[in-house]
């Protein structure tokens, strides 16, 4: 157990964790950020996605020590109910959630993706999002939301 300082959503936090602790557990249990979610712990589903710098990473298998010196952004850091990020707003407008357990991964992944490709085609969206799993079958709405978000941010 050691002391570490990590920067999350624009604030520095001193946390107590062994360096091998996956970032996910530090975010959820120490900082009480519940946007990132535990789905598999195996890099297979993407429910735990956060941004490390500009990159969408899977926090369930990223040791907290890797977050040293790089800013972490979680779903909470993108926007709020009152002031949602354009991607969050598009997901809300398109009702792109059922149980919503995957929504964190979908929004964090697509936000990072849209920085790489600002006006993707539908096929590019589907290809980029295939590593993220949704079990309720909200795919149609997620694709539509990402398209709308790209437009809104253009």
């Amino acid at each position: 157990m050691s002391k570490l300082t990590i920067s999350v959503n624009g604030k520095d936090h001193a946390v107590q964790a062994s360096p091998d602790t996956p970032l996910l557990y530090v975010l959820r249990n120490e900082l009480h950020l519940h946007g990132p979610r535990f789905g598999c712990g195996l890099l297979q589903c993407g429910a735990c996605t956060v941004h490390l710098g500009d990159k969408a990473i899977r926090s369930c298998a990223t040791p907290v020590s890797e977050a040293k010196g790089k800013p972490v952004t979680t779903l909470e850091g993108l926007g709020t109910i009152e002031k949602p990020h354009p991607v969050q707003k598009a997901f809300i407008d398109h009702q792109a959630a059922q149980c919503g357990y995957c929504t964190n991964g979908m929004i964090m992944a697509s936000t990072a993706f849209l920085k790489q490709n600002a006006s993707p085609s539908e096929d590019e969206i589907k290809k980029a999002m295939t590593p993220w799993l949704c079990r309720c079958g909200t795919h149609f709405r997620i694709v539509a939301a990402i398209k709308a978000a790209a437009k809104a941010m253009a």
Binding site: I92, R135, V143
Partner: protein, 761 residues
Amino acid sequence: MTDTLPEGRRLSRRAFLSGTGAMIVAIGAPRLLDPKSAFGALSDSQIGPALVDPLQLDSWIAIRGDGTVTVFAGKVELGTGVMTTTIQLVADELDVALAKVNVVEGDTWQSPDQGFTAGSQSNKTQYALTGGVRQAAAEARLALLNMASKQLGAPVSQLTVSNGVVSVQGSSSTVSYAQLIGDKKFNLKQTGKAVPKTFEQYKIVGTSVARVDIPAKATGAFTYTQDVTVPGLVHARVVRPPTLDSQLVSIDGWPGRKQPAGVIKVVYKDNYVAVVAEQEWQAIKAAEALKVTWKVVPLPSFDDFYDDLQNLTPTTNRVLIDTKDVDTALAKAPKTVTATYRYPIQMHGSMGASASTASVEGNTATVWSSTQGVYQLRGAIATALGLPAQNVHVIYVEGSGCYGLNGADNVALDAAVISQMVGKPVRVQYMRADEHGWENFGQPYVISLKGGLDASGKVSAWDYTAWTASRGGRPGPPANLASGVLLGFPENPLAASPPATPSQAPNFVDGSNSGPSYIIPSQRLVTHSGVHSFMAGPLRSPSRIQNTFANESFIDELAYAAGADPVAFRLQHLTDQRLSDVITLAAKMANWQPGPAAAKVGKGRYLTGRGIAGMLYEGNNGYNAAVFEVTVDRVTGKVAVDRVWSAQDCGPALNPDGMRAQAEGCLMQTISRSLIEEVKWDPTGISSLDWSSYPVIRFNGMPKTFDFQIIDRKDQPVWGAGEVLITNGPAAIANAIFDATGVRLRQLPFTPARVKAALKG
């Protein structure tokens, strides 16, 4: 540290274990008077009411001093939008703004017992004329109008309500609901005299109101069961044996190293083992590294599974229909068709591995769970803890989408039992393999069908025999769940065979869609069920998807044998106009070209075909028909669903966009279950333990287009929309593959290997 559940809605209940010890409040003490709210009771009482009396209006609805309305619902939000349709209903009945309605769902101390939230029954139940929220809201409105009438000195007939304010027509005198009764109880028994509004009168019901939970879900402000924490919480992980019937020999600790940091205790009983630690990561690592020796009881053969299923000694035999003339009719038929269909074990596979937090203190327990039945889970936990049911407070908090009996109940049982064993509040989070390998799987089926065609090409006889197996099921008994079995609780035998009193009338459709929806004069339907090695439970469209796969494939096979068009052939055998209507509409949407299937099988690598399926779900819970267009890659055997057209009739459409969302979800899941999903195992255990060994559909498997139309029937009762389209998928896809290739697939899933083998013949 406390958790506030989503802002402004429902559940702003605080985690309440303030550590001040138990203050026992008399049973039946007022629960709803404090404006701090419905949840006030949690902070100062340890034993709940004996009964949340469904006959009492206060059990359903409370009007707050701030003009908000709280509904206490026994049907919970599983991610399907039921909370929103419940809010629509109450806002419309009471004439209050949508934003003023909150829902407290699934709480054994606060909400009436409405059974399980399952079987696409929620809206059907809440919108029924009696027995659910619609009746309660109408009763509340009547009571409020009677009060207003006295207060305003005007007859009820002259009162109107807008935004929770009652006015007298042609006068400026008004009184609000909050002024009439805010924070006070109605103290009324439901009279049964209040008449709910009609669907023509509703203004909010029937519109696509946005889901109330999505903004919080999209911003990280939502609290799932996985997020519930209480002060002093410790973390546990279960340590499962290789197979369910294996026996614990010894717990050998962590040989060669000292006890890992943070470990509080290794708890065990019978064949049940779990590790408790201060921090979550400590619990994960310690549980992974713990050495446990098991005497492994192997699983039966995977390869012989379907044969074993048919040869299983059945514990339950049911004759559903026997017109007593099937053998004669088949013998007389100029043409007969026989086919056997096989449906694998599939899993719910929830995105979020299940979790639960529980606190057992002395003789009381509080359990936060995403169960589909708080009362039924309460029974299981009370038995496991040795407490009276009344002392167990089960609080529903939404989890990952469940689609039936996923790991939610099992993990709640774990949390409660471990909390009792360590004397601390405990959060148990399943790892992926715990969820995948230990949930109650969907039931496998073998269904054998024989059919006869008469000289005119109509179906004269239908002979159905099904074999299935299960073990466990929903709570009640703890051993209906894997952890209950491991803890040594007795398992319930399956129901004994009922006396053979079959319906002698054909075309009786039971709740399991065992029989076809078609008018066939001679019918015999027999089912055999037995016990097998795998825990089983309802999985979205339980038994109905399996039966519909067989029945709607077989009607296509009969149509082909008769040289008939699959759509026309179905319509010829139907008298149910609403079913005919959805089939006709789906065919029209797809621009269906009449003619026998597989009339034009191409010669190239990629073959395209279309198939249809339609049914009345559960015999009384929604019509759907769907046309699927597939492309089969003859080289790889890969099947892709390209385009889908579907028509649906669930009575009045309560929220058309929500209904469409359910149809979309059904579509993705039914493609997944038809093409990909099958639980696998070897003698040493379940091998489908993650998303690579049990893959499901992803974005790259989406159809290109999905056209969906609703037949909105405001004059009919509300039926469920959550499980209809999914039920048609396997047969519609099998029928489309046949149309494309001329080859009939009768075993799910239609994997590339299986399709390729079938094409080679």
